[in-house]
């Protein structure tokens, strides 16, 4: 079956994304663009210590500064707000937007000033007097779990926030019976999305209606619930506007502490308040860093290279406050065996608090690091059993006829054809020619490497890790609601209930509704409802919008078609099953000359109650709230659970050159084959894949939040210290698509937002190791900065006595 060949009218065809127009003409509506009457601006005072007792925070000099409206400290927040909800419900960890009693990381906010102008607010922030009593800091997760470590939260008695071991299947037996066992430690260093827009939020308290209006650059589920809880307001007293354009997020734009602070200040001052992070605040105190992990991996296999069992221990540095970040150790369990047939799995996860900025969700929700480890282990196995790495992968891939395929941790993959995607990638790269190029270049002394890595990308956001990591969460509903309506003049609009950060959701929804109704998507208005007028949503996390919101839009439009058929049946006196909706009309199947057109159907629905079937509501509007397809059950006692519904797949083949003099890695070419089921908009999908690769190349080669090991000082405070790849570092990418439709979605669509980032770090590491293959080097740590690669080269030469 190949739905891609099914002819769609709009879906899978080129259509210029509508959002692009406003961005290209400077008419985007970003949170920092908002101007409200009498608005005041926030400046923040950040901790200069990684760990210290707060002896005093004196804002009196700041308050006296002309133009300052208010100045608050952690004591104000402790008195007037509830702590930020934490998904592990750790008993004594209490996080407020401003530090209380102690500071736990450099940049943690200790005071906030609001003034009539940001310049004035910053002047006043310099007048805040803070007295610290420094404490020893711990910034290494493996040191933090030792009994003699300084404690980030004394009340917990330990820096371990969560620790659990799962065993799925006969791990002991499979290891005991294996011909080959490989063990390796890996280090995945801290980086993140680092969008070009920092976090911004504005809020105003409308005294007349007792309503807090909020405009924020967010991408976060349960945002208004958490805000309401912290501000001690009912959720229906908070209105979050979702027609705000978010300037990049990649999962990281959560900003809950920012929004609590701004909501609090707006009520306190009775004036609209705006907080726009500056770059330093984003990097240091914004709490937007990604996973930071140490892995211990073991792979058991037969002599022929057939993988039997996989053991993985993950130690994740959550930073000072474990908000949602520990959950990022849960999602990878939904694809823990990657594309491979592995009989049994053991997974041990340890979430650790340290004196670093808190970690937050980032693209892939923890799976990019896990895939890096698994793919590195498969490359090692290839060397160990002397089976060429591509052949080894083919031997272990799940076969296309085995789908739906249940993996040991309880998830079922919906569909895929991994050998075919691999074949397409190799073909696109002209792999034999690449090998010849590599051999010739090596003869001239060049260190050329070719990487080959794949990744299974879960999509759909069935966030069952919430219950897996904390049974008290007991959540199985991850809905997305879409409203579609045809007004009395016959124009079509659709409503989604979340904000977007560059994923072209308006275009995607318009294309699916247009496909269903036979109306050109450019004629369909798509709106972002606010949190009070909107429908249930889990927001655009986990590559779920084509899958869940797309399905909701499909069914909401389908309900309108069904209603129009009922109206036609009633008026034409023809049974419904002899009628069919086609291209804006209802047509009689047995006598196609009999039909009822769009204008007439709309008129009857909206204006002619006397012609409506009995019990039919006036108008043409339909809501569909879609639960994530598949799943919906809580985890078993041994931690087996079905997570995401749809599984995309990709294979990346980068070609790199390592400069032996400097250790600098340059990517020469990059080939990708990927399969995300039915593509809704090809340009949008290409952009998502290549953009994800950009993040993956950053993770592999450049990006790292560095802390001083002695003092815990944060050293990557600007974009001069934290390197983002430019158009010169990310090479042209050659994309080839394959389509294995998902059986779980009406159009066969899957998710695609994260696979590029999930695959690229493993692929680039594989290429660099291949470039250094003559030296016996194993890449176990990212990013592969020139410094690290140079040291690897040096140690290899020392070992060889060169």
């Amino acid at each position: 079956m190949n739905l891609a060949k099914q002819s769609f009218q709009y879906v899978s065809r080129k259509l210029r994304p509508r959002e692009d127009y406003r961005f290209l003409t400077g008419k985007g509506r970003f949170a920092g663009d908002l101007v409200l009457p009498k608005m005041v601006h926030v400046a923040l005072v950040g901790s200069t210590h990684a760990h210290a007792r707060l002896l005093s925070v004196d804002v009196s000099r700041a308050l006296a500064h002309p133009g300052v409206v208010a100045a608050v400290t952690g004591e104000d927040l402790r008195r007037d707000t509830n702590p930020i909800p934490n998904y592990l419900e750790t008993p004594t960890i209490r996080e407020y937007p401003l530090a209380v009693d102690k500071v736990r990381y450099v940049g943690e906010w200790v005071a906030a000033i609001i003034a009539t102008d940001r310049y004035v607010a910053e002047d006043a922030a310099e007048l805040v007097d803070v007295e610290y009593d420094p404490l020893p800091a711990v910034i290494d997760a493996e040191k933090a779990i030792k009994p003699d470590s300084p404690l980030v939260h004394e009340g917990e008695g330990s820096n371990v926030a969560w620790h659990r071991r799962f065993v799925w299947g006969p791990v002991e037996e499979d290891f005991a019976g294996a011909d080959v066992v490989i063990r390796q430690r890996f280090r995945w260093r801290r980086h993140s999305g680092v969008p070009i827009e920092t976090f911004a939020v504005s809020a105003e308290w409308d005294e007349g209606t007792s309503l807090l209006n909020v405009w924020a650059s967010i991408q976060m589920p349960q945002f208004e619930e958490q805000l309401a809880h912290a501000l001690r307001l009912p959720v229906n007293s908070i209105r979050v506007f979702h027609d705000v354009d978010v300037g990049g997020s990649y999962g990281t734009k959560r900003g809950i502490k920012h929004s609590i602070l701004v909501g609090y200040l707006a009520r306190l001052s009775a004036r609209p308040v705006q907080l726009v992070e500056d770059r330093l605040e984003y990097m240091r105190g914004g709490g937007a860093h990604g996973p930071d992990r140490v892995f211990y991996a073991e792979l058991a296999a037969s002599r022929e290279g057939l993988i039997k069992s996989f053991r993985l221990k993950t130690i994740d540095d959550n930073g000072a406050f474990p908000g949602r970040s520990p959950m990022q150790m849960g999602k990878p369990l939904g694809a823990i065996v990657g594309p491979y047939r592995i009989n049994s799995v053991e997974y041990e996860g340890v979430a650790v608090t340290t004196n670093k900025t808190p970690q937050i969700a980032f693209r892939g929700f923890g799976q990019s690091p896990t895939n890096f480890v698994l793919e590195r282990m498969v490359d090692r196995l290839s060397k160990e059993v002397k089976v060429e790495r591509i052949e080894l992968r083919r031997r272990n891939y799940i076969h296309p006829e085995e789908f739906p395929y249940a993996i040991p941790s309880g998830t079922t993959y919906d569909s895929g054809d991994y050998p075919e995607v691999l074949r397409k990638a190799l073909e696109s790269a002209d792999f034999p020619a690449l090998l010849r190029f590599q051999a010739e270049a090596r003869e001239r002394g060049r260190l050329i490497g070719i990487g080959v890595s794949g990744c299974v990308e879960p999509g759909g956001g069935n966030a069952m890790f919430l219950s897996l990591l904390n049974p008290k969460n007991e959540v199985t509903t991850f809905p997305e609601g879409v409203l579609v309506k045809i007004d009395a003049t016959g124009t079509v609009s659709a409503q989604i209930s979340f904000s977007s950060a560059g994923q072209s959701h308006e275009t995607m929804i318009a294309m699916i509704v247009g496909e269903q109704l036979g109306v050109h998507p450019d004629k369909i208005r798509v709106l972002h409802a606010d949190s009070l007028s909107g429908l249930p949503t889990q927001t655009p996390v986990a590559s779920r919008m084509a899958i869940v919101a797309g399905t909701a839009a499909y069914h909401a439009a389908g309900k309108l078609k069904a209603k129009m058929v009922r109206i036609a049946a009633h008026n034409l006196r023809i049974p419904e099953d002899d009628l069919e909706y086609r291209q804006g009309k209802v047509i009689c199947r047995s006598n196609p000359k009999v039909e009822m057109g769009w204008d007439q159907l709309v008129r009857i629905a909206h204006k002619q109650f006397h012609r409506l079937p009995i019990s039919e509501e006036p108008g043409l509007q339909a809501i569909h709230v879609q639960q994530v397809p598949s799943g919906g059950k809580l985890p078993t006692d041994d931690g087996r659970v079905h997570m995401y519904p749809c599984y995309s797949f990709s294979v990346h083949i980068p070609v790199v050159e390592v400069d032996p003099e400097t250790g600098l890695v340059k990517i020469l070419r990059y080939y990708v084959a990927h399969d995300c089921g039915t593509v809704i908009n090809p340009d949008v999908v290409d952009g998502m894949v290549i953009g994800g690769i950009g993040h993956g190349i950053g993770a592999a080669l450049y990006e790292e939040f560095v802390y001083d090991e002695e003092t815990g000082q944060f050293l990557s405070q600007s974009l001069m210290d934290y390197l983002l790849p430019s158009a010169l570092e990310i090479p042209p990418v050659e994309l080839t698509a394959h389509c294995t439709p998902s059986p779980l979605t009406p159009l066969g669509q899957k998710g695609v937002g994260e696979g590029g980032y999930m695959t690229a770090p493993a692929a680039v590491a594989s290429a660099v190791e291949d470039a250094l293959s003559g030296l016996g080097v194993t890449i176990t740590e990212l990013p592969m900065t020139p410094d690290r690669v140079f040291r690897l080269l040096e140690s290899a030469q020392t070992h060889k006595g060169v």
Binding site: F23, G28, G247, I693
Partner: protein, 151 residues
């Protein structure tokens, strides 16, 4: 500014980008890093691409400025460069876009037929976190080709 003369009194320390966004309400120009790395605030000063976060507003006195809001085509519709970015989806979240357009505009003024490598070098001072640059580079190539055909 985009062909209009403004007379304003500003504090000497006020950044040009804050002046544009807050005093003139031209929010098409964005702030990304405030230290000249990301290029989101790129505008044209007397036709040359500059960082408006690294300039004081008072330094712009007497000069001609152009921002994304002033990039419309001669007929008032979108500029061919904007058209090319739309056609090639050289945009995702749209935050780096105005700066990217101004940098590309500056490049094409100096070099109407750049090679791919020249485009990448000219845009290397403008960071985009969404696209991986591929569709942006293609957009600029397309714009150059369109202009070439038009000539």
């Amino acid at each position: 500014m985009n062909g209009v003369e403004y007379v304003r009194m500003v504090e000497p320390r006020r950044l040009l980008v804050d002046f544009l966004r807050q005093d003139l309400g031209l929010t098409g120009t964005h702030v990304g890093c405030e230290h000249g790395v990301c290029g989101a605030c790129t505008v044209l000063l007397d036709g040359l691409a500059v960082r408006s976060c690294l300039m004081l507003a008072i330094q712009a006195e007497g000069h001609e400025l152009r921002t994304v809001e002033g990039l419309a085509g001669e007929d008032g519709g979108v500029h061919p460069l904007q058209e090319a970015f739309w056609e090639n989806h050289g945009v995702q979240c749209g935050y780096c876009t105005p700066g990217m357009l101004m940098a590309a505009y500056g490049l094409l003024r100096e070099n109407p037929a750049p090679t791919e490598q020249e485009i990448r070098e000219a845009l290397a001072g403008n960071l985009c976190r969404c696209t991986g640059y591929h569709q942006i580079v293609r957009s600029v190539q397309d714009a150059a080709e369109r202009a070439g055909v038009a000539r």
